[in-house]
């Protein structure tokens, strides 16, 4: 049996950043958000990912700034701990463990926890008291009121307000519907920071402002309506002058508090808005969207930054690798293809395929990219967009995009409106260097070859694509098509029959149909195994044909859900799904003995996988890890988790590199920083040596009134920065460094 100990399945980035509301640090320089079991810290100015707070062992479910110290953040997680971090340095300060995790996943309870003050790092929080069990599982249905005096929470049609001082719950309920067909269920809650007012969002898009809820009977509410679908989130600005709301329309609405219907809009932000948060000075807003994105918005309603995560909610295309940028390509936001760098775990860009205005409306059938393919050099991209899967009239377009060297992006070259009469099932480019040819196979029992070439009539070189050949086989529906490594053969599977065609003459060379079973996947061997053709059938068979003899070389009974050949070696990866877990086999087509087997990779089916080339190849000699030397296997489970395999050597290398790269994380790693950072560190060291107390003042400030006044104003830093330093230079600093917030601030600026 092959040893699997040094290869393990790891989650590789691209997790959700939109699960919880992002928070903005009080100085508006950082945005914190949860991402899987991490808390990620981004810069608001550069949108750069600075570092992450690692420590939780399960999904982080919430983060909030420490009200006592704005440089610290609390995070809670499904693993039953609440942790306190210094988010600038990424240091774990305290762990409160012992929060019970309920056995029943369906019942939710609101619990107040007393976090004991103690100097120890690990504290067990024991004091817990249940507030209510009438609570929605949606966290945005809970909000603290003015100064933390009360907490408001809602479930279905009931709004509850719990007053901490009185230890009493008042509840107000609405009717389920009224005459006009309103749907009154609560979807979100926000409390005014200075006023006794609770804003609630409802399923039909209404926003109600509740007042006077201290009295059980004499409460009042006013209703405002703009959203046409459920209000997803509400947020008051810190001063309480405005109320922000967002929903599926992806329009951020700013209501003026107490001014009735006066409002402002910021439309077309991306996916539907899930959360809104505001910075403590009210200068920045953050919205997180369903397409795994955080938008940073200035208070003047101008988008100033976008933090985009990997979108993988509805992946319809295969996972692909852009041959030029080596980025992972898959469905992005609606109607787009996203290019995502796996190495840097960073979203590169979106390519607008559909080029139509996306209407944010629930249940609307819109164009979606369903197929995409790159040619071998990355100079052509073919996409298929589709609409009307549910209704009878299917509309789809085949589009061909050429890479433009000047703009470094893909430019639309040809749109084919009626490429086939029915849905395109499979699509592939020929892999030869000289001529590029696209083959599409569709449900109208035809496959077509498309060429970019000269038109016989005009005798002019055209640079757009036209149909070159239409092939069919006994009116059977094709299921797959694939080119051999040298593009001399084209294999098209028609239900149970595989037909082999020569693309030069469009002659059918042979058919392979043994043993019977509808072909599910088809791929040619590479390099030394290029004489083999692999196919998987619905009858749980993996077959390998020898194309020289046209005979079945070997076959084995595995239920293969995905067959993925490595373009850089002979290896082929097969994911098989058996009794609620997925196994992986890696083998060479020439020999049926697997090189590597991994049982129970994950518990769901795997339908999409891709081999990603490594930047620098590993040089492992071990047979079981050799297949990962030149490329890395990524796969997407049905739960849309992107997983990969990591080897021991790789982890060693990463560990050593992370030790080398000890740069101070509080500053964005910009080119400027790399240039100036070293110099500053030296300077800082110098300063601390000569003036141990007066920690870090630049030379020009050392002599008050001297250097400062004689320097031209335009080379000086901003006055706000100088001021604090200037004042600080007059202070008699004490030795207890940690307690001095001003000192701390100076420290941050200098590093």
């Amino acid at each position: 049996m092959v040893e699997t100990s040094d290869i393990r399945v790891v989650r590789c980035g691209g997790s959700k950043v939109n699960l919880t509301p992002p928070i903005i640090s009080s100085d508006s320089r950082f945005v914190l958000c949860t991402s899987g079991d991490l808390v990620k810290v981004y810069s608001t100015r550069t949108e750069e990912w600075l570092h992450s707070l690692q420590g939780h062992t399960n999904q982080v479910t919430g983060i909030t700034l420490n009200p006592a110290n704005h440089l610290q953040v609390y995070s809670c997680s499904v693993d039953g701990t609440v942790k306190l971090w210094d988010f600038i340095d990424g240091i774990l300060i305290k762990v409160h463990s012992g929060l019970c995790v309920s056995a029943c996943p369906e019942c939710f309870q609101l619990v107040s926890v007393h976090l004991p003050k103690s100097a120890e790092q690990e504290v067990e929080a024991k004091e817990m008291s249940a507030v209510s069990s009438h609570i929605s599982k949606n966290p945005s249905c809970t909000a603290f009121g003015r100064g933390g005096e009360y907490i408001a929470f809602a479930r279905h049609l009931q709004l509850n307000v719990y007053f901490f001082r009185k230890q009493k719950t008042y509840s107000f309920s609405l009717k389920a519907t009224d005459k006009k067909g309103a749907k009154n269920a609560f979807t979100c809650i926000a409390c005014h920071p200075t006023d006794d007012c609770i804003a609630t969002g409802h399923e039909d898009g209404k926003i109600r402002l509740w007042r006077n809820f201290i009295h059980k009977k004499e409460y009042t509410y006013s209703t405002q309506h703009w959203h046409h679908n459920a209000v997803n989130t509400l947020c008051f600005t810190p001063e309480g002058t405005h109320l922000l709301s967002g929903g599926i329309e992806s329009v951020l609405v700013q209501w003026q508090y107490g001014a009735g219907n006066r409002k402002e809009f910021l439309p077309r932000l991306g996916g539907s808005i899930l959360h809104i948060s505001a910075s403590s000075d009210g200068q920045l807003f953050c919205t997180s969207h369903s397409d795994n994105k955080i938008t940073v918005i200035e208070s003047s309603f101008k988008v100033c930054g976008v933090i985009q995560g990997l979108v993988k909610d509805a992946v319809l295309t295969d996972l692909m690798i852009d041959p030029r940028s080596k980025a992972l390509v898959l469905n992005g936001k609606p109607g787009h293809l996203q290019f995502y760098s796996l190495l840097r775990d960073k979203h590169l860009y979106n390519l607008d395929i559909v080029q139509q205005e996306y209407i944010y409306e629930a249940g609307l059938d819109q164009f979606e990219v369903v197929k995409a393919a790159f040619d071998i050099k990355g100079s052509w991209l073919a996409t298929v967009e589709e609409r009307g899967k549910k209704s009878s009239d299917l509309e789809f377009f085949l589009k061909l995009w050429a890479f433009d060297e000047r703009t470094q992006s893909f430019v639309l070259n040809t749109t084919i409106t009626a490429a086939h009469t029915d849905r395109i099932i499979s699509m592939c480019f020929s892999s030869s260097e000289e001529t590029t040819m696209l083959v599409t196979a569709a449900e109208d029992s035809q496959f077509k070859a498309w060429c970019q070439g000269a038109d016989a009539d005009t005798q002019q070189d055209q640079n757009f694509w036209s149909c070159d050949f239409v092939g069919s086989y006994h009116k059977l529906n094709p299921t797959n098509c694939s080119f051999s490594a040298d593009s001399s053969l084209l294999a098209v599977s028609f239900q149970e029959v595989i037909t082999i065609w020569s693309p030069d003459t469009w002659e059918m060379l042979t058919t392979l149909c043994q043993p019977p079973g509808v072909i599910r996947d088809l791929c040619f061997g590479r390099l030394s195994c290029s004489k083999y053709l692999l196919g998987t059938t619905t009858k749980n068979l993996l077959c390998c044909w020898n194309l020289l003899t046209c005979e079945l070389e070997w076959s084995t009974s595995v239920d293969v859900s995905k067959l993925q050949p490595d373009p850089f070696s002979e290896n082929v990866a097969a994911f098989s799904y058996q009794s609620k877990h997925t196994d992986l086999f890696v083998f060479k087509p020439s020999e049926p003995r697997p090189l590597f087997t991994n049982k129970n990779v994950c518990s769901e089916k795997v339908h999409r996988a891709v081999f990603v080339p490594r930047e620098e190849p590993l040089n492992s000699c071990d047979e079981s890890t050799q297949w990962l030397n030149r490329s890395q296997l990524y796969f997407l489970t049905q739960n849309m988790d992107l997983l990969t395999f990591s080897t021991a050597t790789e982890e060693d290398r990463m560990l050593s590199s992370s030790k080398q790269l000890v740069i101070d994380d509080s500053v964005a790693v910009t080119p400027f920083y790399l240039l100036l950072g070293k110099h500053r560190q030296q300077q800082q060291k110098l300063n601390t040596q000569s003036h141990p107390h007066n920690m870090a003042l630049p030379l020009l400030l050392r002599v008050p009134g001297g250097g400062l006044l004689h320097t031209p104003a335009h080379v000086l830093p901003a006055a706000s920065v100088l001021c604090s330093m200037f004042v600080n230079s007059f202070l008699i600093s004490n030795t207890g460094v940690q307690q001095d917030p001003l000192r701390y601030f100076v420290h941050i600026w200098l590093t």
Partner: protein, 563 residues
């Protein structure tokens, strides 16, 4: 504030402030970097509305090629009425390129742009035939029904010479390329060569067995000429040997022969066929064209690119490209008897049986320019002069302001979700008639948004007739039929209850039904034809045995170590 509205000294200051501001904001810096030397690129185009995409689907039918464009570029024909059928048109090889038109008992000489004859030769007692110029354009020779051949000076009126000898009508006459001899072919089965100075018959050869109706002298050799006759043959004669040196079988009575300028290729027309012969290969048939459906009476070559033109009794002139595919087609009112193209293709003159000479002149760029310059009227210089003459200095920092997105009216309405208004805008008369694809694009967009029903609902009789008229006009256009059928369905669904209230709408629906029924029948017939063709093709293709190789029993190869 527009940057160009600021007086000059301030611009530099503003630019400096801008540059400092840009240094602080990397996003703007990036924007500026992009704008250098290329069109402005939007860093975040997220907030912009994407306008409705109008699809330009190619029209079905003939492709527009350069040849088509070239031959389309003629003005509408000038019609000149002659006294009888125009049997011969010949252009003078000299500069003003006058042309002689032989019709009935006279020969008229027209100038290139005149509609009145410059000169006419009327001294024919019977029908004149085959008036053709000498190589220097000074003499003109013509045969006639009575058998006489007359030679005219182009400036005189009376015939300089008369050649007598033919016993029957002389249909074709021509100068040999030395200019001193005239060759003529006659219905008495002979052709004769005459000496011009002495008016003496030099030789008479009888080799054809039927009327001689076609003649083409060689321009390179004064002793060679080609004749075509109703005895289905084309012969090449050499006066030095005094007999035919080559005979080609055309297969139909030959109406016209034509030599290419290189004289390696020979064109003969007769019956419905146009045949090209390769003389260098000893008279081998190169191509046989059958593009007319009546007798091809005349052929000529264009002087630009030597394109072949043929005219026929079926009232068409066809233009062939160098690979002998028809690239253009002129339609005429009557059967064509004669045709000629002026040097540089300036004029195409076509003579017809009804005595009408139709002359097409080439369009010139100059004419077009005067037309367009009158039409286009831009904003006046005085209003838009601000900043136009500003010349940036070398170290100036270019700050490009974001380009404002201009939306069409229907896009603006779609942006604010006013669907009915957007449909109304798209159905405005001008859009509807001249740009139906825009109307259809808006309909498709509404359908995609799921609001087409809302947009179509609640209309009065007037606007409903507008929609129905549009449907009637375009529902069969294969480019538009799919979305328009959806519109038809929705209209019927919406207004079923109230249709009978308006006789206008009812009549239109009746018409729509009729037209749709006709179209369905047509489609059915087409499918039947397709089926017939399929069986024909299937029986024609040679049956190939596909080696069924993979029919081997299941190979129980070594199993994966899976279980």
């Amino acid at each position: 504030m527009c940057l160009f509205c600021v007086p000059m000294p301030y611009i530099r200051c503003v630019v400096w402030i801008m540059s400092v501001w840009m240094w602080k904001s990397p996003e703007v810096l990036l924007y500026c970097r992009c704008s250098e030397g290329r069109e402005p690129v939007f860093i975040s185009d997220m907030a912009s509305f994407k306008p409705t995409k109008v699809q330009f689907l190619p029209k079905l039918g003939e492709k527009v090629t350069e040849d088509t464009l070239y031959w389309k570029n003629y003005k509408s024909p000038v019609q000149i009425k002659e006294f009888g059928a125009v049997t011969k048109i010949d252009f003078s090889p000299l500069a003003p390129h006058n042309y002689a038109v032989t019709a009935s008992t006279r020969i008229h000489v027209y100038g290139l742009h005149s509609q009145e004859p410059i000169r006419s030769f009327t001294r024919f007692r019977d029908t004149a035939y085959g008036g053709s110029f000498r190589g220097d354009g000074k003499l003109l020779v013509a045969g006639s029904e009575e058998g006489l051949i007359r030679l005219f000076d182009i400036s005189g009126r009376v015939a300089l010479r008369q050649f007598t000898g033919h016993s029957k009508a002389v249909h074709v006459t021509s100068f040999l390329s030395d200019g001193f001899r005239v060759v003529s072919g006659s219905d008495d089965l002979t052709f004769r060569v005459w000496d011009v100075p002495s008016a003496v018959e030099l030789s008479s050869i009888t080799e054809h067995t039927d009327y001689i109706r076609a003649l083409a002298p060689s321009k390179l050799n004064p002793d060679l000429f080609v004749t075509g006759s109703y005895d289905h043959t084309v012969k090449v004669f050499d006066m030095r040997s005094g007999s035919s040196v080559m005979t080609m079988q055309h297969g139909h009575p030959v109406e016209c022969v034509l030599l290419y300028p290189s004289e390696a290729l020979l064109v003969s027309t007769g019956g419905r066929y146009v045949k090209i012969w390769d003389l260098l290969k000893g008279g081998q048939e190169l191509v046989s064209l059958k593009n007319h459906h009546k007798t091809v009476t005349c052929a000529c070559l264009s002087s630009v690119g030597n394109k072949l033109l043929t005219g026929s009794l079926d009232r068409h002139v066809k233009v062939y490209n160098s690979s002998y595919k028809v690239v253009h087609n002129f339609d005429c009112d009557a059967s064509i008897l004669s045709m000629a193209v002026a040097p540089d293709d300036e004029v195409v003159a076509v003579g017809m049986t009804n005595g009408v000479l139709s002359v097409r002149h080439r369009k010139h760029k100059k004419d077009k320019e005067t037309l367009t310059s009158r039409r286009r009227r831009g904003p006046s210089y005085r209003v838009f002069v601000k900043g136009k003459n500003f010349v940036p200095r070398q170290d100036d920092f270019l700050v490009s302001k974001p380009v404002k997105q201009y939306l069409r009216k229907y896009d603006k309405q779609l942006k604010s979700f006013e669907v009915s208004k957007a449909l109304d805008t798209a159905l405005q008369t001008w859009t509807r008639t001249s740009k139906p694809e825009v109307t259809v694009a808006v309909i498709i967009e509404l359908n995609r948004r799921g609001t087409l029903k809302n947009a179509l609902a609640g209309r009065n009789e007037e606007s409903l007739t507008k929609i129905l008229n549009f449907l009637l006009k375009h529902i069969f256009d294969p480019r538009f039929s799919r979305p328009l059928l959806t519109v038809g369905d929705i209209v019927l669904d919406l207004y079923r209850q109230v249709l009978h209230q308006s006789p206008v709408v009812e009549r239109q629906l009746q018409r729509l039904m009729e037209v749709l029924g006709r179209e369905a029948e047509l489609q059915q017939e087409l499918l039947q034809v397709l089926g017939i063709l399929d069986t024909l093709f299937a029986s024609l293709t040679p049956r190939k045995e596909v080696a069924a190789l993979a029919a081997l029993p299941v190979d129980q190869g070594p199993q994966l170590q899976a279980a």
